[in-house]
Subunit: 365 residues, 2 copies
């Protein structure tokens, strides 16, 4: 294939293998898998999950829930603290579609409870050492009060506890990811067994891709909601959550300039295309992507000392060895593995498969 | 106005004032202004420039050149190292539209020269201590060779030298910006006077918004190409290139959770909406946005110790004082000033004016 402009290429074979492996893992552990679709945001990619028997999904917004409901999904968790200005849009979902929402505070439960016109599942968002939204697992009184409050509204169906151990993204080893995950599972289990008499079907839902990829411990857990694993990326690779060969997305970027004095290659492909997440490289500097060179149809991943070291709006700057510098021609197209698949996909807005088919994503408006 | 979801709001009054002030400055210095439209990427915003008599524009891609040509612009510089795979698209522009391109190497000049079917202006991209694309101003022999090579192709119209002093973005004071800019201008002038006998109309084109905003020294310069000034943002503010009141863009983001133990507010608005550029805050930490609170219709900018401190895909985390914490309600909408207007606009894909009108941007495909 020829790419005249920065292009996001999706390897469907790898993607399907990633889905299969995670679905098998869930099965092995007797877990429901409810993959997070915010990573791919594509009805077509969603169908690949459905072909493997997956029936429940996670999304991060009402908009995304609508988009996937329109493509036939009817059991959707909106894994984001419920956004009160969208209560009418929640009420507007057909009753045939099961929706679960999250809450971590009285105001949200009360406001939604009063306005709710449809049966809606609700999870309490619990946090364990991750500093975003959620109720600390140890805030027993707050949790008690919220469960009691939820009980006052007939349209609510209290489902249980949901967490996202986002701190695994700061881990330095698989062992650390497993430790964080183990700790989270233990704490969630305590909560579960505290309430299981009142709620015999109480659920525990865990989420992050690093934990779901590397851990084999899911005792007492009901469902997993990983998202990123569908594509994986350099960030997951640096955490030990996947191998390079598990990464299903590449950017293809034309070379527009070469800077011999610095052994740097300038590509058409910047923050507008990759977004701007980075990982720390072995040299202690920011790494925005890794480079694959193609010689005689063989793809060769360059070592980490050759890497995408900087991004401005449309330019990318790649540092290479003098030998690689000679090999790379202006006007040729380089393959780059992105750091953060979700944000790169969002920035690009669609995929081209390795066979050349266009795969659309959710429209922005 | 009510915003149920993250919304990018554009203050047309401020925007028009920014355009006017820069246009006046250009006039005062007898400079052509050729604003960079990659910042706003909107035909409608482009028309505001035209209403002020601006006739030439800068873009960063062939796609963007087409988009604005379709809206009546007929003198366009593509200020990006020419991307060889798009040579047919360059040839396809109607002859009524003046196009200028950039090059910094023999391969590009030769390849374009051979394939070129339309009269096309060409600038040599010069760099002075900014490590992206371009020819070092001191590479006299290379510049000589390139100019000679350009002369071999009749369709080329050699325009002169173009630079972007992107290192001003690393400045710590207005004085430093002025010093960098002064140095660049001096070096460009040397080049100009070296070639002016052969090319009496030889041009010098400078670009970056910080220099164009704070400097009053444009001796020998033909045109300025600032882009960001149309909106400005926190990055420009931190450099001293604008005041807070000059910033024409705000994000409006609903509050979805409050974390009392950390005095943190969680908003619906993350890297998917802001993109992920940051500046360093006075506390040495990454700052992704500043917060404006509205009380009794008065907008009050919170001090820098209250700020948007983190972004994940859809969540933003704002640190505030205990007092502000009490004032901010879940379900209310906060106004946030973005760090990098260009990337935030690109991530959001359209604007809503303070009067509620939708302003479209260039479609992605």
């Amino acid at each position: 294939m020829e790419f005249a402009r920065p292009t996001l290429v999706l390897n469907k074979t790898i993607c399907n293998r990633n889905i299969e492996l995670m679905a098998e893992k869930a099965k092995r552990h007797n877990l429901r898998i409810r993959p997070h679709f915010k990573t791919h945001q594509s009805a077509e990619v969603g169908r690949w999950f459905r072909e493997k028997g997956i029936k429940q999904i996670t999304v991060s917004s009402i908009q995304m829930a609508k988009y996937f409901a329109n493509d036939g999904w009817n059991d959707i968790t909106i894994a984001f603290p419920f956004n009160l200005p969208e209560i009418d849009e929640l009420n507007a979902f057909p009753s045939t579609i099961k929706i679960n929402i999250l809450a971590d505070n009285i105001h949200t439960v009360e406001t939604v409870g009063k306005a709710l016109k449809r049966k809606t599942g609700i999870y309490l968002k619990i946090v364990n050492d991750y500093y975003r939204s959620g109720i600390a697992y140890s805030s027993v009184k707050k949790i008690d009060n919220l469960i009691a409050l939820i009980g006052q509204y007939k349209k609510f169906d209290f489902k249980g506890f949901l967490t996202h151990s986002g701190q695994t993204y700061q881990s330095s080893s698989k062992h650390e990811i497993r430790t964080i995950h183990f700790d989270t599972v233990q704490k969630l289990k305590k909560l579960k067994y505290k309430y299981i008499e009142t709620f015999p079907n109480i659920e525990l839902s865990v989420g992050d891709t690093p934990s779901c990829s590397v851990s084999e411990y899911f005792d007492g857990i009901t469902e997993m909601r990983p998202g990123n694993f569908v594509f994986y990326d350099l960030m997951q690779h640096s955490l030990g959550a996947c191998s390079i060969d598990d990464i299903a997305l590449s950017m293809y970027c034309p070379v527009v300039s070469k800077q011999r004095s610095r052994n740097e290659i300038i590509i058409y492909g910047g923050a507008a295309h990759f977004s701007k997440d980075f990982i720390m490289n072995t040299d202690g500097k920011q790494l925005y992507g890794r480079v694959i060179l193609k010689n005689d149809n063989e793809r060769k991943l360059l070592p980490t000392k050759s890497y995408l070291k900087g991004l401005t709006q449309e330019h990318g700057i790649i540092r290479v060895s003098p030998r690689e510098f000679k090999q790379i021609k202006i006007g040729s197209v380089l393959e780059i593995i992105p750091v953060h698949a979700c944000l790169t996909a969002l920035a690009m807005g669609r995929y081209i498969t390795t066979k050349g088919d266009v795969i659309e994503m959710m429209p922005r408006f």
